[in-house]
């Protein structure tokens, strides 16, 4: 198996490299040729039909080609999961870069394609940062912000200082031989290599799934330390330029001030751009198609503007994303939100791929390599050691203030996760070789450090995490009760903090929330979005949608959905399209019923469907036909799905109810139907009466509701109450559609109302269970029957007639189970009805 995979792997590799070789070399040749041609073109004798204009398209072509090649590398690497389980993808991409670099080097004898700082900092890095900011878990981030800042600022400074000083000490001690590097240059080198890199951290951590606090600490640190890195690098760069003599207290103070300016300025700029984004999305109701475009453009502008003002571009981009995510997700329509989420992931992933491939390629360059064993090895050693020391010391201090202290194991992983990446390389290449004679040595060292951390530490990370039994990320299922409970906890904590008279975390958060609700939302969110802001409700809505989608796909895989397209069933809804109360209502109720039906078998499945039905009839605020259709679809599928599970003995991911009660109920229903069919065979017109009763029962609920309240809205609300099981006795026993269809004394067939789907289902059901009877009872279906039969015809199965036939049977069977005697409910209903 793995051999085959390897072979495939090898094939693709060969293909890829051959392709590249073929592409690049001829292109290079063509460049030279075309130059000749362009010269010779001045003496053309005839009209050229086709010309090869390479220089015309050179730049964009190469860019596109390289993007393609990087993605192909990723394709090849991901082809075989056995390898990617052990070696992280980033490491493999670097290796792919090595190979490609080797090919190019072989073809050209020079490294024509490198990862230049411009390309890296302006084109490849911003998408990744924007993506991180946009998808940042805000609550977690801000809860741990104190710790993150400590690690980012103090940790990076410590790393830089300790590394620079130690290396300088070793140099003085003679461990590195002859090098022309002064203390300042060591500090500069230290500052650029000290920073933990967000790209590398993401690449390695994404496959290990450590617990979220640990992840946010490392990742947050990698993002926020850019503020420090930029400052340190610029400050030391300036110092190196100025020379040691010029450095006095003033300059140092200026350096410290510049840190605050850069860091806070960058963040502030990010906030401003975030707010701009929110405003824009607030007004884009009419141009929803290019809403996503705004996000990308403004995000990118935030990065560039900060870069222009020599502030921290990464901080700006991150805070732009962090600040705007909530509002733009609320303001934009769902498609735009999905587009933004997905496109950002595409860009970020693509950039990451390219970065690693190019890092590999850039390494294959003889001109930059300077090997100094002492320097390189000492750097590696010191980076490692100082990272751990720094983490332990800082964590020890932090644990005295944290609510949940960081465990030792987490600290180990945090120390180990201090990965350096392309940012360090970019900064190293940006150094001026006139000022820094040993630039190549530093670049080489940086490359080696990056490769070591990404490849070696990346490979070790997964087994290490497993070995140390680090707490993994909990698989977050979106359960409603957890969300509700979390909300309760939040409120509780605010209250307790208030009672115990201290201003804590939660108090602040509460104050911020109030402020936000009062001002920010008013300012930044569309009025329609403001209404839908309740978190618990949103979760509920999402859960409903998820369930609905599941059901529909289940239903589709099961069989024909033709009855869905039956327009007559949807007629009633159209009437109600007027008001726009809660367009999510259908999903809400639909799903409640759904859940009742599938998860809790003893909840008398049919009844929720019934109430659902009622809701459908009386529902307002259905803006889109789609919602209606899917709602109806869902409803159609609810019962059907369950029954089909049972009788086709199929297994699927939805839980099959093996509950005794349900089995009983279904059995009883079948028996009822059989009796009905028997009776109808004898009596002819018997069944119709019952059918209308059946459907009438649906109607019963409507008028009942009407009696209790006036007006459409109240009507549906009260129905909701009864439907949602508020009054089980009422709903389930007397209202149980399938159970007691026969007990409607009222013969008024207000049948145009769509028949409850489970009715339609019922005959499918019965068809499957008692095929023999199909042959027996088939009352002729005349035009007169259509009224009651039409709904039944929703399904294309031929057992329609069976349905009506079976109803009388139910009547008799009813007595056998625990239901209130037939007479009471109908009369009372009738009374109410009258």
């Amino acid at each position: 198996m793995s051999l085959m995979g390897l072979r495939r792997h090898a094939d693709l590799w060969l293909l890829g490299s051959a392709m590249l070789l073929c592409c690049v070399s001829p292109l290079k040749a063509e460049v030279k040729n075309s130059e000749h041609e362009s010269h010779s073109n001045s003496n053309i004798t005839g009209i050229p039909i086709v010309t090869f204009k390479w220089e015309h398209v050179e730049t964009p072509y190469l860019v596109a080609l390289w993007v393609l090649v990087s993605f192909l590398c990723k394709l090849v690497i991901e082809a075989n999961h056995h390898v990617t389980n052990i070696i992280p993808e980033s490491a493999l991409l670097i290796c792919a870069g090595f190979i490609l670099g080797g090919i190019i080097w072989g073809a050209d004898l020079q490294q024509t394609f490198k990862l230049t700082p411009t390309v890296f900092f302006f084109y490849l890095l911003p998408p990744i940062i924007l993506d991180s900011g946009y998808h940042m878990p805000n609550k977690l981030f801000f809860t741990n912000l104190g710790a993150i800042l400590v690690y980012a600022v103090i940790g990076t400074c410590w790393n830089a200082a300790s590394l620079g000083l130690s290396l300088w000490g070793c140099h003085k001690g003679g461990a590195m031989g002859e090098l022309d590097i002064g203390l300042l240059q060591y500090l500069l080198f230290g500052s650029l290599i000290a920073a933990v890199d967000p790209v590398a951290v993401l690449a390695v951590f994404e496959q290990v799934h450590v617990n979220e606090v640990l992840f946010i600490l490392v990742f947050g640190e990698s993002l926020l330390n850019d503020g420090v890195t930029v400052v340190l690098f610029n400050v030391f760069d300036a110092f190196v330029t100025l020379g040691g003599a010029q450095i006095d207290a003033v300059e140092i103070i200026k350096g410290i001030i510049s840190f605050f300016v850069v860091a806070f300025g960058g963040s502030l700029l990010g906030f401003v751009f975030g707010l701009l984004m929110c405003f824009l999305t607030r007004c884009t109701k009419n141009i929803q198609i290019i809403e996503p475009g705004f996000i990308f453009v403004v995000g990118y502008l935030s990065y560039l503007t900060a870069e222009m003002l020599s502030l921290s571009a990464i901080l700006s981009c991150v805070f732009c994303g962090v600040c705007c995510q909530k509002y733009i997700n609320a303001n934009m329509n769902e498609n735009s939100v999905k587009t933004v989420k997905y496109a950002m992931k595409v860009f970020a992933n693509g950039s990451e791929t390219m970065i690693f491939v190019f890092l590999g390629i850039s390494a294959i360059d003889k001109t930059i390599w300077v090997w100094n064993t002492g320097f390189i090895l000492l750097t590696l050693l010191f980076i490692f050691i100082y990272r751990f020391i720094g983490v332990f010391i800082q964590t020890w201090i932090l644990n005295r203030f944290r609510l949940v202290p960081l465990e030792f194991i987490d600290q180990l992983i945090m120390g180990f996760g201090g990965l350096r990446g392309a940012v360090a390389y970019g900064l190293a290449v940006m150094m001026d070789e006139n000022k820094i004679k040993e630039k190549n040595l530093m670049v080489s060292t940086t490359l080696i450090v990056v490769f070591f951390t990404v490849i070696v530490q990346g490979i070790i990370m997964k087994p290490l995490v497993k070995w140390l039994k680090v707490k993994k990320a909990t698989e977050s299922e979106l359960t409603l009760i957890e969300k509700v409970q979390n909300r309760v906890f939040d409120h509780m904590l605010v209250a307790i903090e208030d009672i115990s008279g201290q201003i804590g975390h939660n108090y602040m958060r509460d104050k911020w929330k109030n402020f936000e609700e009062k001002w920010m939302m008013w300012l930044l969110m569309k009025p329609s979005a403001r209404k839908k802001q309740d978190h618990v409700f949103n979760v509920f809505h999402q859960l409903n949608l998820k369930d609905a989608v599941e059901y529909v796909s289940e239903g589709e895989s099961r069989g024909s959905l033709e009855f869905i397209r039956n327009d007559s069933a949807i007629i009633d809804f159209k009437k109600k399209l007027g008001e726009d109360i809660f367009d999510t209502m259908p999903d809400v109720t639909a799903d409640t019923s759904f859940d009742h039906g599938i998860v809790l078998p003893d909840r008398r499945d049919p009844v929720p469907s019934v109430s659902l039905e009622m809701h459908e009839q009386t529902m307002n605020g259905l803006r889109e036909m789609e919602d209606l259709n899917s709602h109806h679809l869902l409803q159609e599928h609810l019962y059907k799905g369950r029954k089909q599970h049972r009788h086709k003995f199929s297994r699927n991911h939805l839980t099959i109810n093996t509950d005794e009660d349900e089995v009983q109920e279904i059995f009883q229903r079948t028996m009822r139907r059989r009796l009905e069919s028997f009776k109808s065979a004898k009596m002819g017109m018997g069944p119709p009466k019952i059918i209308s009763k059946h459907t009438k029962k649906e109607q019963q609920k409507a008028p009942n509701g009407m009696k209790r309240n006036s007006g459409d809205e109240d009507f549906e609300f009260s129905e909701a109450d009864s439907a949602s099981g508020y009054d089980p006795s009422y709903s389930y026993r007397s209202g149980g559609g399938i159970e007691n269809p026969a007990f409607m004394a009222d013969l008024d067939p207000v049948v145009p109302v769509q028949i409850p789907p489970w009715l339609a289902e019922a005959e499918l059901y019965s068809g499957a269970v008692s095929p023999s009877q199909r042959a027996q009872a088939r009352p002729p279906l005349s035009a007169g029957d259509l009224r009651r039969l039409a709904p039944l015809r929703i399904s294309t199965r031929s057992t329609d007639s069976f349905m009506m036939a079976d109803i009388p049977a139910a009547e008799q069977r009813r007595d056998s189970f625990d239901l209130p005697p037939p007479p009471p409910p109908p009369p009372s209903k009738d009374g109410r009805h009258q």
Binding site: L403, L480, V488, S500, T592, D595, F717
Partner: protein
């Protein structure tokens, strides 16, 4: 501490509270002064509920952060008040107003109503309540018992979510 001799905090009391709740001496005195400032009526108890200082401390003790070394100290005693189970039990009691050890749909609805904005209609809330109950309800009685409550929240980091730092 005021001049009301009857409500002065005595050393023995502080010791008792310390043992029962796990607060430190300074925390207890601090919270006592807070209690007295809240207790404007000077009846030694807060409001109509007549929560005395001991009850006050007991409630607050639920919110202390969970400490591992606690387990070593209180081996023989019952669980400390801020253990995970007790925290969850406190949360459970917030819902269970009639103290029948079950959260019924109505009780859940009440809590939901308090937490949710005015934009959500009653029946939507009802649906949410139903679904919530159904997620947790293992034995199908339509109510959430404490065991079911605990089970459904086993993934939630209760220790962190229900703790605050008490100033020393």
């Amino acid at each position: 501490m005021g001049s009301r001799a009857s409500t002065l905090l005595r050393e023995e009391e502080i010791e008792e509270i310390k043992k029962e709740t796990g607060f430190s001496h300074s925390q207890i005195t601090r919270l006592y002064s807070r209690f007295t400032s809240l207790d404007k009526g000077e009846n030694g108890a807060l409001r109509e509920d007549q929560v005395n200082f001991r009850g006050f401390m007991r409630t607050l003790a639920h919110f202390r952060p969970v400490e591992d070394n606690e387990k070593n100290k209180n081996v023989s005693n019952t669980e400390p008040l801020n253990s995970r189970t007790n925290k969850l039990h406190f949360a459970f009691q917030l819902y269970d107003l009639d103290r029948d050890d079950k959260i019924s749909r109505d009780e859940l609805l009440q809590v939901l109503r308090m937490m949710v904005g005015v934009n959500i209609s009653d029946e939507q809330l009802g649906s949410i309540a139903d679904r919530t109950i159904q997620e947790a309800d293992a034995n199908g009685d339509g109510c959430i018992s404490f065991t079911e409550f605990m089970k459904v929240l086993e993934k939630v980091d209760v220790e962190q979510k229900m703790s605050i730092r008490f100033l020393h």
